[in-house]
Structures are given as structure tokens and as C-alpha cells.
């Protein structure tokens, strides 16, 4: 089981702020592929070439990062603070 959070323009476009997945993909890249496979707006938002950043347990993560049971994964667009 992993928890997935969506922020800013991603959340607006997906119409969802968070969800809990019972399946656990092996890596961030596999999670992203599973989201693309939902089709529709999910395919658009997470398609290859779309600049989506990921954090695992609140730290920036690469696509290759391995996911463990209970992990929190956040997806978001490039940041614009400061």
C-alpha cells in the first residue's frame, strides 16, 4: 500500500489531491506508468516528456527510486516559491 499526493496544477488537472493505492509499484517510474495507463487526463499529465517532479517520503526522488510498503509519494510541477 502506498499513499499518493498531487499538488498545485497537477491536483487541479487531475481533480484529486490524494489517494491510497493497494498495489505497490516497484519504483517511481513504474508508479508513473501505472498512472498513465489510466488514460484520459492521467495519460496527459504523466506522459513521458511532461515535467513532473516526484518526492518519496517528502524528499525529492528520481524515477528509479524504489518504493517500499507505506511510502508517501508526492507528484508536483516544477516549484515556484521564493
Amino acid at each position: 500500500m502506498i499513499r499518493v499526493l498531487y499538488f498545485a496544477s497537477l491536483r487541479d488537472r487531475l481533480g484529486r489531491a490524494d489517494e491510497t493505492l493497494s498495489e505497490r509499484p516497484a519504483t517511481v517510474a513504474e508508479l508513473r506508468a501505472a498512472l498513465v495507463a489510466r488514460g484520459g487526463i492521467w495519460g496527459d499529465v504523466f506522459a513521458d516528456g511532461q515535467r513532473v517532479l516526484a518526492a518519496v517520503n517528502q524528499e525529492m526522488a528520481s524515477a528509479e527510486q524504489v518504493l517500499n510498503e507505506g511510502d508517501e509519494v508526492g507528484f508536483f510541477p516544477p516549484v515556484t516559491g521564493g
Binding site: Q58, E59, M60, F76, P78, V79, G82
Partner: protein, 154 residues
């Protein structure tokens, strides 16, 4: 190195908040601060207000990691990083980065490093309300990526 990091949804009094970085510390020789302010115009459009969203929990971790890295690179006596979230209006301070050091060169380097990294690594997002009543998410700027890349990998 004394560090304070804060994310707040209340007004940020950037000048008053700079004082603790040097007050009561007679070994501090120089303080460099950066205050980021909301402008009333962006890409040529008048902007009435702005909402700053963040990723609670991750934000504080990301800022702490950036400040830690600055403390490894330079000899600093105090660092304060304060950031607004929620709704803000033109001229409101968005961020304060204040760095105290015995020597000014280190304070300048560290202050600019922290704001450059904050702009590309800390999970904040701005949404603008324009004068025509619309809203739009602010796009990240390539110049910010470029500035952060100039410091090399942490």
C-alpha cells in the same frame, strides 16, 4: 550555526524578522538578507493577489536540507529562512533569507545559494489572480534552474 526555518500563513514582517539573526551576537560582523516581494505585474499582466501553496512536511525538510548544505559550504553564525503561504497581495514579503557571518563574503555566498536552491528545490507553488478575474499557476523559470545549477550538486 543557529538556524530557524518557518512556513507561515500570516503576514511576514521581513525587516523585524531579520533582527534575531544578529541581535545579541557580538561576534557577527555582517548580515546579508534577501527579501522576495510580490510584484503587481507578471509577464505584462496586472496581478491582484496570489495564493502560495506548499507541501506541508516536505517543505520544512527541503528548507532544512538547503540550509544544512549552506552551513557545510560556508562558516555561518546564523540563518533564518521564513516563507509565506496562503493568499498574498502585491508588496507583501514572500520570503526572507537572512544570513549572519563573521565575514561578508561568506554571508553573500550563502544567502544567494539558499534562495537559488529554495526557488528550485522547495515545494512551493504560486497561483496568480489577474486583474481580469482569472487565475493561473505561475510557470517555473529556466533562469531559476540555471541559477541553482551554477552552485553545483550539493
Amino acid at each position: 550555526m543557529d538556524v530557524e526555518i518557518r512556513v507561515q500563513d500570516t503576514p511576514l514582517d521581513a525587516l523585524a524578522e531579520t533582527a534575531p539573526v544578529f541581535a545579541g551576537r557580538p561576534s557577527v560582523g555582517g548580515v546579508v538578507s534577501f527579501i522576495g516581494l510580490m510584484r503587481d505585474i507578471n509577464h505584462g499582466d496586472a496581478v491582484n493577489s496570489m495564493t502560495l501553496e506548499h507541501y506541508p512536511g516536505m517543505t520544512e525538510k527541503a528548507l532544512a536540507a538547503i540550509v544544512d548544505e549552506a552551513g557545510r559550504r560556508w562558516d555561518l553564525q546564523g540563518v533564518r529562512v521564513l516563507h509565506r503561504v496562503g493568499e498574498i497581495r502585491p508588496q507583501d514579503p514572500i520570503v526572507l533569507v537572512a544570513v549572519a557571518s563573521a565575514h561578508r563574503g561568506e554571508a553573500f555566498r550563502a544567502c544567494e545559494f539558499i534562495i537559488d536552491y529554495l526557488k528550485t528545490r522547495a515545494p512551493f507553488w504560486k497561483r496568480e489572480q489577474t486583474a481580469d478575474g482569472g487565475t493561473r499557476w505561475v510557470e517555473a523559470r529556466a533562469s531559476d534552474e540555471h541559477a541553482a545549477a551554477g552552485w553545483g550538486e550539493p
